[in-house]
């Protein structure tokens, strides 16, 4: 796999963030925060009648993008910040760019800036990833 600094990672698209997936996640995670499953709770916080996607789910879109690019199990580190909430019904695109390529212990790694894009908004999630590149 030939990778260079400045390469764009192919986009990964979540057409519409679905509230039922948040409810499944909340049950598995045993997450008591009602903003993930009760639209009235988000409305009370001034976010409108839309539930808030769990942080790990937004992060998982980045994982899916990197797996599609460099293969399952390629990620060795993922650091993510959460400037804005992702809400049910959002159309979200995971995007990224290679910032460095290096050799370490006989393997090649790419350092990447990664983020989620949403039309009409700054990035709701932003972070960095380290990816082990296939030979």
């Amino acid at each position: 796999m030939r990778v260079s600094v400045g390469d764009r990672i192919p986009d990964w698209v979540m057409e519409s963030v679905r509230p039922e997936r948040m409810r499944t996640m909340a049950a598995i995670l045993r997450d008591p925060n009602p903003v993930h499953w009760d639209r009235n709770a988000t409305a009370a916080l001034g976010l409108g009648h839309r539930t808030v996607n769990q942080g790990p789910l937004g992060l998982s879109y980045m994982v899916n993008m990197l797996h599609a690019w460099a293969g399952p199990g390629c990620i060795t580190r993922l650091y993510m910040t959460f400037p804005l909430a992702v809400l049910d019904g959002d159309h979200i695109t995971a995007q990224g760019v290679v910032t460095a390529v290096r050799d370490e212990g006989g393997e090649r790694f790419a350092d990447c800036d990664v983020w989620l894009a949403r039309e009409g908004s700054s990035h709701p999630l932003e972070g960095k990833a380290v990816v082990r590149l296939p030979s």
Binding site: A44, L57, Y79, F82
Partner: protein, 154 residues
């Protein structure tokens, strides 16, 4: 915990959580769990029983004997909806697999009172968890940084 707000704890009261260690334990991701979680991410199942990395949120928490509710309570959260995420840092040393027992430990790393910020006054609390294979080799380490809103200080 209900959505009703509680009195704002002092910084010293919140700092008592630093060094708290969760009981620790063993966690095995079963196929049904990986299937449902992976579906939630919008991806197809990974090959050969490899677990989707999204498990690195709840596996460390539940595997260490903690719970999200307990983590809220340790930080003396004013309500379940008063918590914001600053960051997640997931270090993945090896892929994780279904039906494989992992030994998990976790602790509260730090607490910091921040009187101002984009989210208003808050306490910044960091938790760290380790996930190890049966032979003790480290498979993953995760650091969760949450912001506990203190609306009473606004």
């Amino acid at each position: 915990m209900t959505a009703a707000s509680k009195p704002v704890p002092s910084p010293d009261e919140v700092r008592k959580a630093v060094g708290h260690r969760f009981p620790g334990g063993v966690y095995t991701v079963q196929h049904w769990e990986n299937f449902l979680l992976t579906e939630c991410t919008g991806a197809e199942l990974l090959p050969d029983g490899m677990v989707h990395p999204v498990v690195l949120f709840h596996l460390p928490i539940l595997g260490s004997g903690a719970s999200i509710g307990e983590m809220f309570a340790l930080g003396l959260a004013e309500s379940d909806s008063s918590i914001g995420i600053e960051s997640y840092d997931w270090e993945m040393f090896k892929p994780l697999f279904e039906d494989t027992p992992y030994t998990v430990n976790g602790q509260v790393l730090s607490v910091e009172r921040r009187p101002t910020g984009r989210r208003g006054p808050h306490d910044r609390i960091q938790f760290q968890f380790t996930v190890a294979e049966a032979d003790g080799s480290l498979a993953a380490r995760t650091t969760i940084t949450w912001l506990y809103g203190r609306s009473g200080l606004a």
